[in-house]
Every structure is written in C-alpha cells, then in structure tokens.
C-alpha cells in the first residue's frame, strides 16, 4: 500500500463521520487525525461484525438474526444490544408478556412495541426473560 493511497482506502464519508462525532456533547472540534482513525476503525468494525455474522449463516444469505446473534453473544458488543435486539416471534412475545404478567410486573409500557423491541425494560441481553 503506497503512502499517498492511505486515506483513499476509506469508504465512509469523513464529513458524515465528523457530523456524528460532533453530535456528541463533549466534542467541539475534530482534528483530521482522530477523524481518520475513527472512520478507519468503524470500517474495521463493520468488516469484523459482518465476518462473524457470516459464520452463523448456513446458506448464502446474511440475515438480521445472524448479526443479532453475534451481538448477544459478545459482551464487548453490549452497546449494540438495544440497536440490534434479537427478534422474537409474536407468539414468543405473548408468552413472555404472559409470564411477566403472571409475576405481577408492571409490564404494560412495553406492550405497544412490536415483536422486535423487547428490551425496553432495560434488560441488557435482548430477549432474556427477566424476573
């Protein structure tokens, strides 16, 4: 890899990464070097996540659930658990709610959410049943 090429190897738009970084309350300015690094490492992260998710596939189709599986199994990906929750079927969801109701929990806040949003009560591990 030649030196002049080194930032052409980026795919993601620097301007967008910068906008996202600046949306963080503690960030006023972002210099070119940290911007380059955050962009680069985000690309590494995507590659890594995709490869690991791909290992969960059987056929030739990478699906949402394969990604959710990686996220649920790796504690360093805890920060993604609300973004990529494990999906459950409506039936599983109803069973889950019924079980919660039977325990007398106040579970009605989350009942309007669809089957994919089950983690609204703060459980960090997706669909796990909470006591």
């Amino acid at each position: 890899m030649s030196a002049t090429k080194s930032e052409k190897d980026l795919h993601l738009p620097l301007s967008r990464v910068k906008t996202i970084m600046k949306s963080s309350p503690d960030v006023d300015a972002v210099g070119p070097e940290p911007l380059y690094l955050v962009t680069k490492v985000t690309e590494m992260f995507v590659t890594d996540l995709a490869k690991r998710a791909h290992k969960n596939t059987k056929g030739n189709m990478l699906e949402y659930k394969h990604i959710a599986e990686v996220v649920q199994e790796d504690d360093t990906l805890d920060f993604l658990r609300e973004i990529v929750p494990r999906k459950i079927t409506v039936r599983e969801y109803k069973e889950l709610m019924a079980r919660k109701a039977a325990r007398g929990d106040r579970s009605d806040e989350s009942s309007e959410e669809s089957s994919e949003a089950e983690s609204s009560d703060g459980s960090s591990s997706g669909v796990e049943i909470i006591e």
């Binding site: 080194s6 070097e33 955050v38 985000t42 995507v46 699906e63 360093t76 973004i83």
Partner: protein, 119 residues
C-alpha cells in the same frame, strides 16, 4: 452540525459495500441485515467518540488526539483493532507529511484534507 436526522446515520450504501467486500462473493445480504449493520456502524462511531473523549477529560485536556482514539480501543476492549489501526495511522501520517512537504501530486487529495481542517 447535524441539519437533518439522517445526517447522524452513516450511508447504508457505503456500509453495504464494505460488508460485501469483507464477505465471499455471492453472499446476499438481506435488507434488514443491511439496516442493522448500518445502524451498528453509526452507533459505533459515537461509542468510540465517547470513549475517546472520556480519556481527554480524565487527563484534563481539551483536544481529542489520534492517540486518544487508540487508547479508547483498549478501554472498550477492542484491543484487536489497535495493531492494524496503529499501522493505518502511520501510513496516514506519512501521507500527510509527504503532502505538506510538497510531494503530494494528487490535487484532489490535498483539497480533501483542506476541507477537513476548515470547519
């Protein structure tokens, strides 16, 4: 500053291209998987940023440096990225200093750097 909410997400088309390049040819990626990966990438940017700014704050400094980003990777237990990232940083620095010394031949490269530094 972010004008629109979409500005806070990385473009899905680009994320998908990265994913395709990392997987064997012929693997299809479902629409939901694409969306999930793009969201994950966008959140990752913020996650790294906040880990890095924590380091800046703890050291009572103001400016975020490249070293902070590298350190942040250890704090969030992504140590496996530190090696390749350090290497990328070296290449990047070389490219920048080559350009500053007037050796940069590609005009658009120079312009790109300038627009980064502007605002």
């Amino acid at each position: 500053m972010a004008e629109k909410l979409e500005d806070l997400n990385l473009p899905m088309s680009v994320v998908t291209r990265i994913v395709k390049e990392s997987l064997p040819e012929g693997v299809a990626i479902s629409k939901e998987a694409r969306t999930g990966l793009a969201k994950a990438a966008s959140v990752f940017v913020l996650y790294v940023t906040s880990a890095a700014t924590n380091i800046v704050k703890n050291n009572k400094r103001k400016t975020l440096t490249g070293q902070d980003v590298l350190e942040a990777m250890k704090d969030i237990e992504f140590d496996r990225f530190v090696g390749p990232l350090t290497e990328a940083l070296e290449n990047y620095k070389q490219a920048v200093s080559a350009r500053k010394s007037g050796a940069g031949k590609k005009k658009e490269d120079v312009e790109e750097i300038e627009t980064i530094e502007e605002d």
